[in-house]
Symmetry: none
Subunit: 243 residues, 2 copies
DNA sequence: CAGGGCTGTGACGAATCGGTGACATTCCGC
DNA sequence: GCGGAATGTCACCGATTCGTCACAGCCCTG
């Protein structure tokens, strides 16, 4: 039930201003995260060669390679660790640049520490499955009712042998549901965990993805045995018909 | 009251509507949490000066300082207690405002009590690895006269082995009755604790739900042994047939 | 810039829940 | 016992929620 048995998430902070770095590190540590620090891009890249982490907090203005460059390099190396950019400028174009270079979120200085922590939490929640979960072979593949889903490739084979190509959202929703196997997951939970805390598709969107998952994996989509509706709240996923 | 209350998380509810407050408090108590209440922001801040708690349930619309203000003040004071906002408006922008003022989660009224409890559990679980205490447990499962009820999933297995899917109101009424096991609970009590806020249905509505519960769980619904009528007052729940 | 997959929305019917009222039944005081 | 009140029981209606489909943007690819 509780996948949180894992160790505390590890966060790397890349920041050249020692004061800001100290404050950020302190707060992250107080939140219970493991923390490491780097003061420029090359140091960060070197560190990341040998170690994986759950999140990189990356200042844009760094001596040497700037934050965008660091992030782009990482992505080119196939490293998909989530990146939260920090920048002094409030220019919206920077946000776009940040996202284009492969970042996941963006925060303009000066920021409230509380908001910073909020974003960290949101990103880690959203990307949890991708790293901690898919890194583990156990949860990389999910079997239920004759179906088999491989989350690494977004590929599945349905009970009737049919090959299925899941989309990203489909896979993420399924993943979140499966991780809370047996427990109720509200639509809002799904929205937050799959889409993020500041995106607001209507809750009907969730219903539609459930519909698609049922079509893919239920023998009788009209009488679901795995993707169950909890009236007025959300959905519940069961691997087996009736536990 | 609760034997395992040793490490029960303490929740502060800040809500000016007494009906809603009563419903929320009752349900949190039934889940096994320690609870306290405040009816406005200043009262809450004063209380929090002297005491720590695991979670603050904070209405946005309060007399005097509003919820956002209370939360912001707390954060400025270095208080990082998780905050769950309640608000009448469904505006997504409010959600962002809530989160950015330092809240951890957000729920729009009118909400289903089940979803509310879901979120409380989620936040406290998130906080658990930090405090490493086990927490909750609570009255998740109730057994009586061969029946077994799982309040988390609103599912039950009746004495005859039949699977039952409880509705939200059915489950809530049963939970309140069971929580006051053996004691008389008046219809007005039930209305307040289960419905909590918003609407006040007639007392006959309560009778109807009692009827449904009897049909589900009594061997002989006409001669109830668990859901007893106290004539002129209300109802009484007994786990065992003989008092 | 044309085409195709992914995503999100709106619309509409179906299903469910909650709540009410009508009537039968039971209980209480007399 | 008798009458009135409270409760048991049922059937039904409105509101909400959900399932389902069709379609319109969007982004990427060619």
């Amino acid at each position: 039930m509780n996948p949180a048995a894992q160790a505390a998430p590890h966060v790397l902070v890349v920041e050249d201003d020692p004061h800001l770095a100290a404050g950020v590190l302190e707060n992250l540590r107080a939140e219970g995260y493991e923390v490491s620090a780097a003061s420029d891009g090359e140091q960060a890249l070197a560190w990341l060669k040998g170690t994986r982490c759950a999140l990189i907090v990356l200042d844009v203005m760094l001596p040497g390679i700037d934050g965008f460059g660091v992030c782009r390099t990482l992505r080119e190396q196939g490293n998909n660790t989530p990146v939260l950019f920090l920048t002094a400028r409030g220019d919206p174009a920077d946000r776009v640049r940040g996202l284009e270079s492969g970042g996941d979120d963006y925060l303009a200085k000066p920021f409230h520490l509380q908001e910073f922590l909020l974003r960290v939490r949101a990103i880690l929640r959203r990307w949890d499955w991708y790293h901690s979960a898919s890194a583990t072979a156990a949860t990389a593949v999910l079997s239920f009712g004759g179906n088999e889903v491989d989350f690494r490739a977004f590929r599945a084979r349905a009970w009737n042998g049919e090959a299925q190509e899941l989309t990203e959202k489909e896979a993420m929703i399924l993943k979140v549901l499966a991780e809370h196997g047996g427990e109720i997951v509200s639509r809002e939970d799904l929205l937050e965990k799959v889409w993020g805390y500041d995106v607001f598709p209507s809750t009907r969107t969730v219903d539609n993805f459930i519909l698609r998952l049922r079509k893919r994996f239920e023998r009788d989509p009209a009488n679901p045995r795995h993707f169950l509706t909890v009236w007025g709240v959300g959905y519940r996923f069961l691997k087996d018909g009736e536990p």
